[in-house]
Symmetry: C2
DNA sequence: CGCCCTATTGATAAACTTCAAGTTATGTGG
DNA sequence: CCACATAACTTGAAGTTTATCAATAGGGCG
């Protein structure tokens, strides 16, 4: 969803050539495709931040570590997201493959240069950054005051909405990450995540099918339990703003 | 510190005319000064987001509410910060005065227009957004896996560093907010904040003087207890990036 | 001086974590 | 294709941290 950096969700759904032109992904067209498999690390927290990456296939987790080994996942990225954009010398987080990932890279310099050549993409960059800040705030609300059940329901709803926004009309939630990843994302332990899933399944809200899939039986049950905020879903994009 | 929106901390310390030109605050020069007193709300979560604000004096808290009344403070803003920049139709948070606040406002439209006239400020805007995302991630780490003591120490250290960056060379931390505000910012209760302050005072780390001031006796004690990240303080700004 | 708001302190309870054991997938090599 | 090994997940019991409830103390302002 986000990361310090942006993760570009293009304004349009799919990456047909015409639409691709309007997303930041277009800036990577000339870069060669690279691959990573589950567990591989694309870049490490603390590495010199020389490149910006565009994800073409697969899923990544964005992690930060405390010195004693505690881990926080600040976001999950997927196809068409961009990662690594920031003003810092070093990456503030590492990016690790959850599954088979295909991506492209560019040096920051080249990325910046390309961006200058495409002033129409400037508002896209700003918009992506604003979305990222908004997502980070949602996560702060979640971590700050939601219960385990609320956190899990919010998370599942978020994934469901995202997949629906991308065109999938099922009620199957795809979870490319492990329970431990979910726990580290939600500020819980793996045991609490597991127990909460079991509880929701017992209440007929969902059904845990295969390991990386959850079937939603009562979306309304998830919504009720997610403890969303006051202003939720009220904030539509303002198309004109910054867009010229 | 941050908010969904940006809160501009200008690259230079004070607002001498020459330096002011290089910060986004310059875009508000023609706006009239407005005032708010402690507890007054500059704008509400859910309001139509028509304006962008520049803070000239005083302190604000940035709040979000869940439907059942739980409150999260996602940041504190102060002199020279800017708030309200985003791509959304409605504010995703409310901004409330902690003390006597002086601010200026502009319509989003005018702000955007001014920005077009000052392309040199574009990288400043981007940089501020990146900083805001970075700060939000730090807060996610704090909320996700730090203990009450670590949270409080991180918070106090952050305030201390900020005031030192602004030129103050004391070890007195100014806290314009109440304990409840601190609690809502750190994802704790007021009682836990109070107990933790007492505990740290007992260990000779700090001394709680007047209500809105804390005296730091052993900064190293705070650092040890803050549980900072791996990559902390390693990421210096890359001055050239995006700056033309 | 006294009131009200804020903060502190104490006792109890709840939620979640931790530790431990057991179960189910997954994938690999025979 | 099946058996086995390993990792991922689930479930249970005990332990901690922090929240909650309740009472008290301190500060600022009329």
């Amino acid at each position: 969803m986000f990361a310090n950096s942006l993760n570009v969700r293009p304004l349009f759904e799919e990456t047909s050539p015409a639409r691709e032109q309007c997303s930041l992904g277009a800036l990577f067209d000339r870069s060669q495709l690279e691959h990573a498999t589950a567990g591989q690390i694309v870049f490490f927290e603390g590495d010199r931040a020389l490149h910006v990456f565009a994800i073409r296939e697969g899923n990544l987790r964005i992690c930060r570590q405390l010195h004693d080994g505690r881990r926080v996942i600040t976001g999950f990225l997927t196809k068409s997201d961009i990662v690594g954009v920031s003003f810092k010398n070093r990456y503030l987080y590492s990016a690790e493959a959850l599954d088979d990932v295909v991506f492209q890279r560019q040096t920051k310099m080249a990325f910046e240069k390309q961006l200058l050549a495409r002033p129409d993409l400037r508002p896209v960059l700003l918009s992506q950054l604003c979305d990222e800040v908004a997502a980070a705030q949602d996560q702060m609300v979640l971590l700050s005051c939601k219960s385990a059940e609320e956190r899990l329901c919010s998370f599942l709803l978020g994934r469901l909405r995202k997949s629906m926004a991308h065109g999938c009309q099922t009620n199957v939630i795809n979870l490319p990450m492990t329970r431990l990843d979910i726990a580290d994302y939600l500020g819980l332990t793996i045991e609490t995540v597991s127990r909460t899933v079991t509880k929701l399944a017992g209440q007929g809200i969902l059904s845990a099918g295969r390991r990386h899939e959850i079937l939603v039986l009562k979306k309304s049950g998830l919504v009720e339990r997610a403890g969303e905020d006051l202003a939720a879903d009220d904030g539509l994009d303002t198309p004109g703003y910054y867009h010229h």
